[in-house]
Every structure is written in C-alpha cells, then in structure tokens.
Symmetry: C2
Amino acid sequence: MDIFREYNIKCTKQRQIILDIIKNNNGITIKEINELVKKEINLSTIYRIIELFLNKEIITKKIVDNVVIYELKEKTHNHYFSCNKCHKKTIIPKKDIENFENKIIMNNDYEVTSHNIEFRGICSKCKGK
Amino acid sequence: MDIFREYNIKCTKQRQIILDIIKNNNGITIKEINELVKKEINLSTIYRIIELFLNKEIITKKIVDNVVIYELKEKTHNHYFSCNKCHKKTIIPKKDIENFENKIIMNNDYEVTSHNIEFRGICSKCKGK
DNA sequence: ATTTAAATGCAAAAAAATTGCATTTAGGAG
DNA sequence: CTCCTAAATGCAATTTTTTTGCATTTAAAT
C-alpha cells in the first residue's frame, strides 16, 4: 500500500492488517480489533498503531451509540445517509451539499472552510418492512 | 430544577451539581468534572450520574480533539456556524436546514430521523481583518 | 548482505471504569 | 411534620483499559 509512503511511515505487517480492518469495517472499536488480531498482534501495538493513524489523520475517532469507534478518514469527504436498520450508508450527492453550503454563505456572508453533515434514518429499502 | 421531575428521576445534591457544571461548560471531561467536585462527590457517583444522564438523554457524549467530552443535549436542536477566529457561534436558520433535509428525502425516499450539521469558517465580522 | 533507527512483544505499571455492600437520603405515605 | 422505603451515595476492592520500559525483531536504506 502506498498510504504508508504517502504519510512517510514504515510499512509493517501489523499496520497493514489494522489498516485493512479499519477499511473493511465502517466504525470499529479497539476491543473488536483486538478480537480479530489477538493472535497476531499485541494489544499495546494496536494502541500504538491507532495513535499513529490518528496523529497522521489516516483515521478518525468518533462516538456512535455512546461508544468510541475508529474509522477511515476519507479524503474525498463525502456525506452520508446511514440507515438505522440495515446500517448501509449512501452518499448524499455533492451537488446537494454544495447548494446548501452556498445558501448559507449567501445568506450570511460567511467563509465556510469545513463542515460536518450526517443524516440518519430509514432507507427506502428498509421502509416497507 | 424541574429537569429531574421532567425525566422522573430523583433530585439529589450531587446530580444538581454535576448538571450545573455540564450546563456551564460547553464540553467537559470526566476528569475535569472530578477535579471540580472531588471534595464533595465520589468518582463512582460521577460515573453513575453521567451514565444516568446519558440514558435519559439529558446529555450527550462527543469527541472533540480526540477526547471524550460530555455536554448538554439541547432540545431546541439548533445548527451552528462557528467562526474559527472569534469562536462565536451563529445559528443557521431552521428553514434552511429543513429545505435541505426535504431535498434529501425527496431525492432518495429516505425517512430521516436525525441529523448532525455543523459549519466552520470565518464569519463576516472577522473577514475584513 | 549489512546496518540501524524504528517497531513490536511482553510483562509490569498506571489510569479509568465498575461493582458489592454498608450507610445515607429523597420524597411519598400517613 | 415524622416515618418509612426504595433508591442513591461513599468507600474499598476489583476489573478493565491504556500506557510504559526494555529486550528483541524488522523495514528499508546503504
């Protein structure tokens, strides 16, 4: 993987494993990571790698349902709608976000440098059930 | 305070103190709370009260700068624009939020049950400087 | 292939969170 | 207002989570 080169950090087996896990699970706890790799990676190493990834801003730390989880920090900064039933995420079209942001700017003369937008609810597929 | 009656929980001195602290600090850690009240309230009581408040949804748990903080859960659920320079918050008009949410729903047939929207940047006053 | 700074594993320590139980207290009943 | 009881608190002990020091291993540059 080139993400290690990109961030100028050593590429180790342990780091790759943990990065892959975080990539493949959208939102995972330390405990869960440990469950998955306890045979191959020492817990203190997990902590050290998580901290490294946080510092390099490869991942972010969040709270979901009052639990701390870690997830990949996406560069392409999308915004999602998360279904509470099937837990699937769907991207909110960038245009919608932009239009919204433009409205905020126009109405208030702000210079917007960052935003955080998330919607939760029931998706169309789960709605019928 | 009537918040205790409203949520149907006993009103104790300790709960009042902690609620007031959370009210007066926007975003505080357990450690900080403990520092403030260690002479009057036992740490395990603090944990128990925080958990109660979370369960009753009087407060929420968040991550700010990779640290877990607790803050009052506002009923009037406003959305803010925060200025990075003067750190002042201004409310984004509810209408704007609603229009945006309606668009998301219309375009995708979702049932939106909650959202989280925050903008950051430079406000008009700080822009000139 | 060799070298070396950095990363890992392991054990031990420190810090954070939870628990059981004796004591205290809020708040309803009389 | 006083009494009563279930619930809340304090305290000490435990459990869980996170951090640390150091010996060993490893990535990657030479």
